[in-house]
Subunit: 424 residues, 2 copies
Amino acid sequence: MGKTDDRRPGGATRRAFMTSALAGGAALAATGRSWAEGDPLITEIQDWNRYLGDGVDAAPYGMPSAFEADVIRRDVPWLTADPVSSVNFTPLHALDGIITPNGLCFERHHAGTALIDPADYRLMINGLVDTPLVFTMSDLKRFPRENRVYFLECAANSGMEWRGSQLNGCQFTHGMVHCVMYTGVPLRTLLQEAGVRTSGKWLLAEGADASAMTRSIPLEKALDDCLVAFAMNGEALRPEQGYPVRLCVPGWEGNMWVKWLRRLEVGDKPWAQREETSKYTDLLENGIARRHTFLMDVKSVITSPSPQAPVTHGKGPLVITGLAWSGSGTISRVDVSIDGGRNWKTARLDGPSLPKALHRFYLDIEWDGSELLLQSRAMDEKGYIQPTKDELRAARGVNSIYHNNSIQTWQVRQDGEVENVEVS
Amino acid sequence: MGKTDDRRPGGATRRAFMTSALAGGAALAATGRSWAEGDPLITEIQDWNRYLGDGVDAAPYGMPSAFEADVIRRDVPWLTADPVSSVNFTPLHALDGIITPNGLCFERHHAGTALIDPADYRLMINGLVDTPLVFTMSDLKRFPRENRVYFLECAANSGMEWRGSQLNGCQFTHGMVHCVMYTGVPLRTLLQEAGVRTSGKWLLAEGADASAMTRSIPLEKALDDCLVAFAMNGEALRPEQGYPVRLCVPGWEGNMWVKWLRRLEVGDKPWAQREETSKYTDLLENGIARRHTFLMDVKSVITSPSPQAPVTHGKGPLVITGLAWSGSGTISRVDVSIDGGRNWKTARLDGPSLPKALHRFYLDIEWDGSELLLQSRAMDEKGYIQPTKDELRAARGVNSIYHNNSIQTWQVRQDGEVENVEVS
């Protein structure tokens, strides 16, 4: 941040003393000294300085401030009217950093949330193995564990935007993603324990909820970086995230991260279950459906400003921030455009850069108050670059709702309000 | 994990099929096939397979499972009877990884929890500066931001253990530490904005709560890595953690991380406020008190097994895990002893290694069922090694309650119960 006045945040709102400096600041609030703008929040003692605040010893598990009551998961009534099979969205517009708090992680369920007492939990491994096995929670917690930060993105994230801009907020257009630190046992360890036969090429993961969610996973991926996880951000998985045990399939579509995991079957070919045939396949223009499109490609979105996070402070310094991620590894670079993709500036990545995790980026600009067309474009360590919507449609048509990783545009109006728009 | 039977977790509890493998696993739960141990949790359809689970659309901000109701912050009644100035403890024994969920972060307050509307928030910088300034929340959010994962440890953490083992649980002996990702503006940026005069050598940070917590910080540290933070683990600070703004003083004692931050005064010498004279100084045997002992030295503790996390599965594979941290940077190595410090094995560090953050370690052993005396000993990147209790007492006596970073011992009995003990 430069030292010239016009680059200083608060150029309009910053409050300067009438006098150049004040000695004996400890007596400040009691002096009643007159300020440039006579702000009583500075000159007067406030209630929170005067009176004992509410204790928190009565809150053994703490909650956010009442002033943050709007920072919640939300659903889209016309999209998710059925409580049996529904989804809610992470409030990305109100968050920062790369860790999603557990209480705000979006979740998609197909038969409600199964409530399972960990004492009753069992995980079976069967099929093409030397020794079929069943593990209890206690068994699982005796194997060596790992901790990894991973994003989890629903394949349908941004799906409603394929044919045109629809949902006015990044919570709804991009909020089917979250990022936490998982703790669990490598899936490889458990499969090696059972002994996979040489004929084994695929794995079926099955959930214990009433939908019995089942997905086929290539054995190569299962033996690579998958985790059988029991903790997120340090504590036990949340019920809606598969408590007590879920599968982590890093970088791959969220539907494969089977929740309430109860069974792993080793087979010699994929199974063609409902959720990998009628769902989670991508219908192309020529009538052919792509299947086994597991990888979540490189993607990014600007989270602020965005329709739910308008610019309220007028022109001058403006923090543009967003998230980028790639199922292929780390993010190597994010570019940001303020003119709808004609000119680009490289954004600043800030925070740990972890493979298959969210990355946070910033572009700190001086806003002149004119209309902006904000876009972000991510590149990953493999060199893959996020496509435009036109490029995506040219390659895949508009029949699919899955795997839309195209560039999102937000229009910032002169009054600071923000809209979801498209540019060509 | 080896392939020999006696090293397999679940050697005692593992359930094997009577038949070598089962084809057509999808029909598994309905077959009623008889298992080696005839476990109905495998052979019978459970309620959570049969009925729609409770939906979570009604939980816009999610909470942990009811089965995790014991994983909470706790206080120690005889230690913290006064609600005005109290403390609660992170349940370290029940957590994994390195991120602490916001709802479980320990907190210490001196005048309750101040409740401040962000719209009414002001931060003043005054003293030896060119231009005294006042910032609103909106102002702060216009400066370039950073994201950093840091541990925060109260200087009094483990303080009750100076004279001998007292508290039976790592939640109570070591639970005044937590670790989250902070988002905020570098303090340096704000001080540069005000323009620190060459005579400025120290900074006074003052809180807006009724205790008006005030601490002196060397300007060198203030200009190094301190943050004026407004988010933790992605969301706004929790009320008891200083909402809407707290100071982060990475690696230094928690009391300096002033909550509800309202004022920063630049001066030419430290202030000698109450919380840095009558408190947060270390009385030595010779009657001299060490002061300005800001740095939190290298430290570690085994979190499981521990008195609140006994061994319930009998002999065989056992995961020993714990946390290590250092105010000087990263942890380079953790050794674990199972015989009270006579022999040591190097533990496995797992998860990101970030400076001034918690590090997670594991030692996966085969427990023969005999009594153990568990200890962990951390080393940091500067080469500093965690001392024994005897070494700490020889250097500092037993008058202080602050900065006890000595090695903790847990006795694991043959029945799996765990006690806080001392060994010489």
